[in-house]
Amino acid sequence: MGVKHGDKKMLTGNYAVAYGARLAQVEVVPAYPITPQTQIMEKLVEFIEKGELKARFVPVESEHSAMTVAIAAQATGARSFTASSSQGLAYMHENLFVASGLRLPLVLAVVNRGLAMPISIHPDQTDSLAERDSGCIQFYAADAQEALDLILQAYRVAEDQDVLLPVMVCLEGFLISHFTEIVEVPDQAEAKDFVGDYTSRHVILDPQRPMHIGILVNEHYYTEYRFQQKQAMDSAKKVIKKVAEEYRARFGRGHGLVESYKTEDAQIVIVTMGALSGVAKLAVDRLREDGIKAGLVRLVAFRPFPKDEIIGCCRAADTVVVLDRNVSLGSSGIIYLEVSSSLCNLSSGPRIYDVILGLGGRDIGQEDIEELVKKLTGRVPDVQDVSWAKVRGAM
């Protein structure tokens, strides 16, 4: 079976996500508009109205209800999909724990946007990273094509019997959601064959087989439920890699836990995720031209966190520079915390720096990354482990 290339279309990241959901033949789509996500739901409504997608759109009155409807529909046996951003995602917060605790494999697109106050409709990945403990798998797309591919992969991963967890596919607002790119849209029949039908064996509202979904367990079973979710996350690592390989064999692209770029001999490894990786790759090339052996690891999955892959790509390096388009106030960037905890028990691990940058959509260019990598690796004595780039008022 050879690679089947699809039609090429000019699509924004948001439309690419909507095409992904259409290809996955989602069945119930509850959604509430929020910039920069809105076009995903608008496009899906268009598909449904034109008869190109057999699904129910539920125009809910809030994101909280969007996630409740998605949970209930998935528990009734329908493949569910919704999308949100920033405050909308925060409004879903409690229900994300419900979805993962009930082991419902629904998929949620998150178009990253700054969390108010103050308001920025441009990206800051803190909105989805603040949900990292919710038990949802998290993917971060680097471009529109990957956003589409990851939606299809997400359903396969979510519905795998060894996983059964909800998945968030995150893409940065405007930088990806509103940027028009050439996107290859797989053939519907091929996509259907890849994703398959959703059949719920574990959680199903069926009068023929009555079960009570969402019960009280207290200290008797709570820990075991959480432990099983942890095991599902562990299994997800293997499943994500397997699904990425299958996707690659069928469609010519595949997105696993990480993407590594020139890390084999790298002395300096940049770690980041999402759209920043594009300019970071250019910076790696320029740094290499200047004789600095740089490389890049891009996280595709943040949950489960690809610890082994991070160790594999970073253990031989002298320096790791994490680029965080997010911040955990009172601590550091969130990726930095994970990378540090992955590398902290190595006997002779690299020095790890964190740079917080690009918040609320502040533009970061290849030259910015080049400059800060040179500064951090120049062994300037007063350099801090955690710093902010391109910020006014910094000492």
């Binding site: 069945e27 119930v28 509850p30 057999k54 699904a55 129910r56 539920v58 125009p59 809910v60 009155e61 809030s62 909280h64 209800s65 409740t68 409807v69 998605a70 949970i71 209930a72 529909a73 998935q74 528990a75 009734t76 046996g77 329908a78 569910s80 409690e94 229900n95 419900v98 199903i204 509202l205 069926d206 009068p207 087989r209 009555p210 079960m211 009570h212 979904i213 969402g214 019960i215 009280l216 367990v217």
Partner: protein, 287 residues
Amino acid sequence: MEKDKTFIRPGNFFCPGCPAGIIWKLILKVLGPNCIASIGSTCVGMPAILYPSPLDIPTLHVGMPGPAAALSGISAALEILAEKGKRPARGNINVFAIAGDGGTADIGMAALSGAAERNDNGIYFCFDNEAYMNTGIQRSSLTPRKSWTTTTPVGKFQTKKDLPTIMAAHRIPYVATASLGFPNDFIAKIKKARDLKKGFRYIHILAPCPIGWGFPSEKTVEVSRLAVETGVWPLYEIESGVMRQAQRKTARKPVSQYFRIQKRFAHLTDDEIDAVEAVLRKTETPE
């Protein structure tokens, strides 16, 4: 279906005298066993939430604000799955939600109004015990004026929200009030809601709580009847915008009979009760 088969088995976690057991029995007598229920985080939801369960129907409990939206999700899924030939047509399965006054009128109000405005398919039962009883008797927007609760220690200052008429203002096909003191009326209303088949149907049941209201646990049905007989809880239905009130066969009883049987109104003076009596007399429909 066996004639006397009930779909709530003996043995449950309700307090002595709680009306929830009777209400479940009546609802399931009409709607069970081919139904799916969305459950609020509430006293009345306990048989679905606590293991082992006495219920023989599938239930979903999403959380405090969730019951109406979960009903929407279940119905949407059944409809599309039937359309795709994956599940039997939803006409066969009765979808309903049941939640308390908090999950309905307060934290769940946005979801309730949304589901009603969309006219999503299902029956919604509000189990109104007039306070947050599951957390230990705190006021809700459906607690009546002057009632004692732990968060209204000198009596509630505000008036009870008139939720059934708010629901009727959504122009949904069916709204009704009910009381377990009048089970045949309640059963008839559930049947009517069921047989309408489509759209959002709302039934609001007054649910006297022996612990929260302060009356002996054997008097639940009596208090339920008194609420109706004194005119405090009128029984009516609004079908396609047309209101029909149950006709009283006997003279209205003095409202003091309802107030004086409950400790939550123990601080009311005779004058205060007389004032309520006067209001009810004024609004009474002439014979």
